[in-house]
Assembly symmetry: C2
Homo-oligomer: 431 residues x 2
Amino acid sequence: MAKEKVNVGLIGFGTIGTGVVRLFKDSAALINRKAGIKVELKKICDIDVERDRGVEIDKALLTNDADEVLNDPEIDIVIELIGGYKHALDFVMRAMENKKSIVTANKAMISRYWESLEESASKNDVDIMAEASVAGGIPILRSTDKGLAANKIDRIMAILNGTANYILTRMSKAQISFDEALKEAQQKGFAEADPTLDIEGFDSMHKIVILSTIAFHRRVREEEVYVEGIRDVEYMDIQFARQFGYVMKLLAIAEKNDGELNVRVHPTFLGNRHLLTSVDYEYNAVAVRGDAVGDTLFYGKGAGEMPTASAVMSDVIFLARNIVSGKEKNPYSSKKNEELRIKEIGDIESKYYMRFTVADKAGVLSEISGALGKYNISIESMIQKGRNAKESVPVVIMCYESREEDVKKALEEIDKLDITRKKTVVYRVID
Amino acid sequence: MAKEKVNVGLIGFGTIGTGVVRLFKDSAALINRKAGIKVELKKICDIDVERDRGVEIDKALLTNDADEVLNDPEIDIVIELIGGYKHALDFVMRAMENKKSIVTANKAMISRYWESLEESASKNDVDIMAEASVAGGIPILRSTDKGLAANKIDRIMAILNGTANYILTRMSKAQISFDEALKEAQQKGFAEADPTLDIEGFDSMHKIVILSTIAFHRRVREEEVYVEGIRDVEYMDIQFARQFGYVMKLLAIAEKNDGELNVRVHPTFLGNRHLLTSVDYEYNAVAVRGDAVGDTLFYGKGAGEMPTASAVMSDVIFLARNIVSGKEKNPYSSKKNEELRIKEIGDIESKYYMRFTVADKAGVLSEISGALGKYNISIESMIQKGRNAKESVPVVIMCYESREEDVKKALEEIDKLDITRKKTVVYRVID
């Protein structure tokens, strides 16, 4: 008997959940046409079923009992939008055991529990899709996996966290401190009350884990990713780097080289002409380089109610089509692994920005350049500001491509010198 | 009996065909893994089977008889890369009648014969895919149709022709004439010996026909698209516009407004901060705006052997997967039409750049502004250069949003004035 409609259950009626409900209401005709079948929202589960979300719904759809979604035999697809690990993982696993396919925006869950999720999906012959988990509304998982399917990808470079990007953009444009920019971002709804995941780089890490696992056909694990956040970024460095023509971005990078993969998240000074440099405020962008296609860039809003709901719904439509017209299996997988060793952060090569805080006296530069030279680090340019200042002066050096381990050792030596007044600040630089 | 492999026949062994053959050779493992089945190139058809394309192939694959591809019952997918209308259409139709699915890069054919192709595909229960036909390696059809599936799209703005973009970029950066830039583009292989399709805007027209048909769920026909090329662009105007902060691009635009769709291709002065302004040389980019996702941008190489082959092969992989695992029907269609009237070019509103060539005497500006004012066209800024020149001087005016029909009428009047020495040059402007 031909199916007449596809039923969807939603767990998590927060910001993105509200966006999803809005799309079901406002774009029903479009969604049904694209899916080739009527797609209906049958149940909405949340702890809070009272709060007015500003979207009109039939009260009968609401429940605070997840079982009403998980155990409803008529529900084909469960959208999980509660986030985090604990309940989310339990709900998703139980939904799959009940033969429901999953759409989720939960990057933390996928990043950590991919194998278990995949195993359950395979065992129960259902799909789990997560376009919304990386770069919000940008269809980047689909594009990487399908659109660039014939490419050996060798590099992904991305701005994946709108909060961090908003803060860095404001620091740079408004010439304000990290704390001021964070406060502003919180007031405007671009940062959460507890911004740890965003500003410490963990959210970007979850996303690059997912994206690089798909792009490189190798399960990348969280502990294999080097992560450095932006909490300690000082406006002073943004200002100095601007004089060399650089802008700071929190980048997530996955690079393949000679059978080795390096995956990392860190604040980076990007050259003025780099594609990602003009990606400002809450926007995200992903630059993917493939052997056939060359450089590509995908740009759009990385978060927010409607952009993320757009991605969630694209997965719902995909699954609904497959329920109707046969079955294309889960479009991406952590399996089919290539033998790719992880390259440690110490082994990467990069240009570096260094700010030394040193005594204001003759001979300082010679000591610094001596220590750098000892580790084969060549200076490209230098700025020495505010001579005759009180106690100490900043000396800023941009150096040519060097091995990270060498830079680390050189700076350890320099930080122990008598002339050094504060720990040296260092950032990676990409032209 | 489970199928053991999918066989592919290639018709057209030119530049892109060579790229496709290269991918079959160099990326076989990747392609088979992605497709979930062995995908084999079984026949290559071209008029010229002798020429060395720099890629090693088994001579037994080569034929100059298309029937050997079209009538081979073992071939599942035919890649058509000969371009143009005549033979291509015939081959594709016959292949479909023989139950073969099609992958093509032939924008001219799809743009003109979409309904017939679609009808035959449906009748024969096969698919026809054309990711490579728009924006080369950028997976824009897939992204628009699937990635942004839940969006009501209201605007597409795109740089879709690498030749035209290369010429305009070189004119601007090297301060050279159109003819010089074209010659250079031809020498570097970015323009063909007969560049008509590219520089007159017809290639962009074919592409925006395809893209807007998919995005707006309405078959857009070639004759409904306003087309203006770049052959008459003078360096002088690029230079003047730069002083106002604008850069010239050949844009393809599809805009939906109040139930009306306007589709057009024309040279445009774009503001410095516009997303498309920094898309230079042979690169393409497509900005898509959806109600849920907001602004997105997709960027990459729009032409060339490997980028285009990358798109062709993504379709081959998609079709091969479907042959194995069931059937998701053709991802995009010209049917399911919305009732969208076409808005004529005269009814659009835009800012305009105008260069008048007038007698060098007092009162000229008053005559011009009088005629503009009569049609409710307000001047935003003005440059009057080279006073006391010989016969005539250029007067450049940027005006606020006006209706195109009014602009046309005003310029017709101005061009008849005694003070006017040459036909006025006019370009649309987007901030």
